[in-house]
Subunit: 194 residues, 4 copies
DNA sequence: CATGAATGAGAATTCATTCAT
DNA sequence: CATGAATGAATTCTCATTCAT
């Protein structure tokens, strides 16, 4: 435990660990407080309620997640290369933080509709990044020009998400990043202008 | 557990309606019993526990769902045509039963891991159907021969699932079946041998 | 404990005892349930929430209290005699049920405003009875004809209530009913037409 | 505890305002501290605990209240006139400080028994003043000589208290002081020697 | 087979009070 | 003197499941 960290982050890290280890419904506030080495009441100095811990957790972690991807694709000029980078970063980041992968792929999906809607809001910037790549591909004539943007976005996100979820549920018996080239090839083929 | 008896189905239909209208966490056993016009205790003559109602619901509804798709694709010899039929049937069936779409795409996903694992078991035959189409495509040289089968399956299922979920969350503001040709085209392109 | 009694009354009697012995703030629902020999959850089959137990308690007990007084004064034709009966019955009933006296005079007054307003509603019929006596006294020319009815009612009720509260707080070191003649004499003098 | 310091009074005035506006149970220490423009911890430099704030509030306010009444009745030689002055001052003071009236008539009564007993102690000097008037009335042969002093005192105090409480609860829709002559007339009649 | 009254375990949140600075 | 971040004890209510009728 890093006591220099402001308690806000201490609590969020504790929440990730506790939820990954005990499941969404096994994660009482008191358990998170204990893991974070704070009193139960201290949680409520930083978060309005339990749901707010989870939204904040997702915001913090996905915020970084998305930012790193957005940063990384800035380097390439080609939509296809950008897509490759996005897939690789998506997989690499979740591979390197197994606790986070469990929490985002499995546990947080058990939350109520209200929380899920807030989570969807957090994901919006990621979807915008995907949209940007698609648009660039169209502009560059790498991708078909009459693509249905929402549909394509849902295909890309749905594919990546399903693959990561399967990997988490199979307890990561294989290396996720190894899948990147084939997925990239398939997705580019799906969108290609010819 | 007696599956021939009418009350068994009465309870399952009631569960679909109650969950669709009240959400997963708003669906108490007593509410389902009331909707089914039986006493609370009667539920437990037909189902071991609450979770068992939901698994059975999924088994019944997805069983039919899958069977109809399997039946429908028997008619075609081409893997590409079969994939088209699968996508169309997938969308058509969920479009025509909005309650069921809400329950399977949104509400049942809030259940605990144990129930989700059982749901995955129920989906296995559907994944087998998808695998069969892929294999046939490879055998017919329509699809690339070195496809990674699980990966392809996850792409297809992940794409369809994400698209339906978005449609349900957007309160079906557009016609799902209209999307079939483009999705089919993209998926076939992704898998195509050249 | 009388197990023939429907649980509703069982719980109310338990609440009176528990509150009298432990005070308003020391009376947890679980303590009341234990005293009533029912499970905690059973309370909520009969009462919407904890506050509702207390309102019902007051309704039941005060309902009987008022009814007995109303019945008793029917016997007399004279307003002065009726007032005597009212005072005597008021004191006699609270003297004979010390637990109830503690609860109504001390403990229930610690409740929040919402409950206090509901309690005031329950008392309204009692105030009507007092008003009836005053009116009769005026009609019979026993009492002054230009009395301010609300003011007189408040004087009578305030006097009786303060006297009973003092008696309860002094742990009933004297006999409440002995006070009746003097109080009656003073109140009648206060209202008398000459 | 330093009573000369300005913060002591600052806190008491803040407590009156906060309790009048938020009710007894809505008045957290932190809210009082904020209203008083001091830190939460500062409260505990001046008061042992929360209950002590309330007792002090009552002591300060009722101390002045009683003193003013005692002073005012010094001017009259007749018990009846003194009683008139007492009633008028009682009503006038509470009329002119609506916040204080709410706090003493409604909110502070929701406190626990311990606080109520301390409040009763504070009221003792007021009851002594009433007793003094009664005794003077007896000595002057204005009042009956065999009056039961405690009983009479409870009638007077109970009457005034009930009337003020009703006025506060009715949101002071009428002028309290207008009631003085009739109440005085009734009380004097009740006690009069003939 | 069917009923439905009764059970009782389990958890989020508030807030008076402390104490290191 | 003053601060205010941190503490942690304490309690109502829900709802899946049982079982006597």
């Amino acid at each position: 435990m890093n006591n220099q960290k402001p308690k806000y982050h201490q609590i969020i890290e504790a929440a990730v660990k506790v939820i990954a280890e005990n499941g969404y419904h096994g994660s009482q506030v008191s358990k998170i407080a204990k893991e974070a080495n704070v009193a139960d009441g201290t949680i409520y100095l930083y978060f309005k309620n339990k749901e707010h811990i989870l939204v904040s957790l997702f915001e913090e972690k996905m915020g970084e997640f998305i930012e790193r991807i957005a940063k990384a694709i800035e380097g390439s000029d080609s939509a296809s290369d950008q897509l490759y980078t996005l897939i690789e970063m998506h997989f690499r980041q979740l591979s390197s933080d197994y606790y986070l992968a469990i929490v985002t792929q499995l546990e947080l999906r058990q939350s109520n509709i209200s929380l899920r809607l807030q989570i969807n809001q957090v994901l919006k910037p990621y979807l915008k990044v995907i949209d940007g790549i698609i648009q660039k591909g169209i502009d560059q004539h790498q991708f078909k020009e009459d693509l249905n943007m929402p549909l394509v976005r849902q295909m890309i996100f749905g594919t990546l998400d399903e693959i990561v979820t399967n990997w988490v549920m199979k307890e990561q018996k294989y290396t996720l990043v190894d899948m990147v080239p084939e997925i990239h090839r398939m997705l580019v083929s799906a969108l290609a202008s010819k």
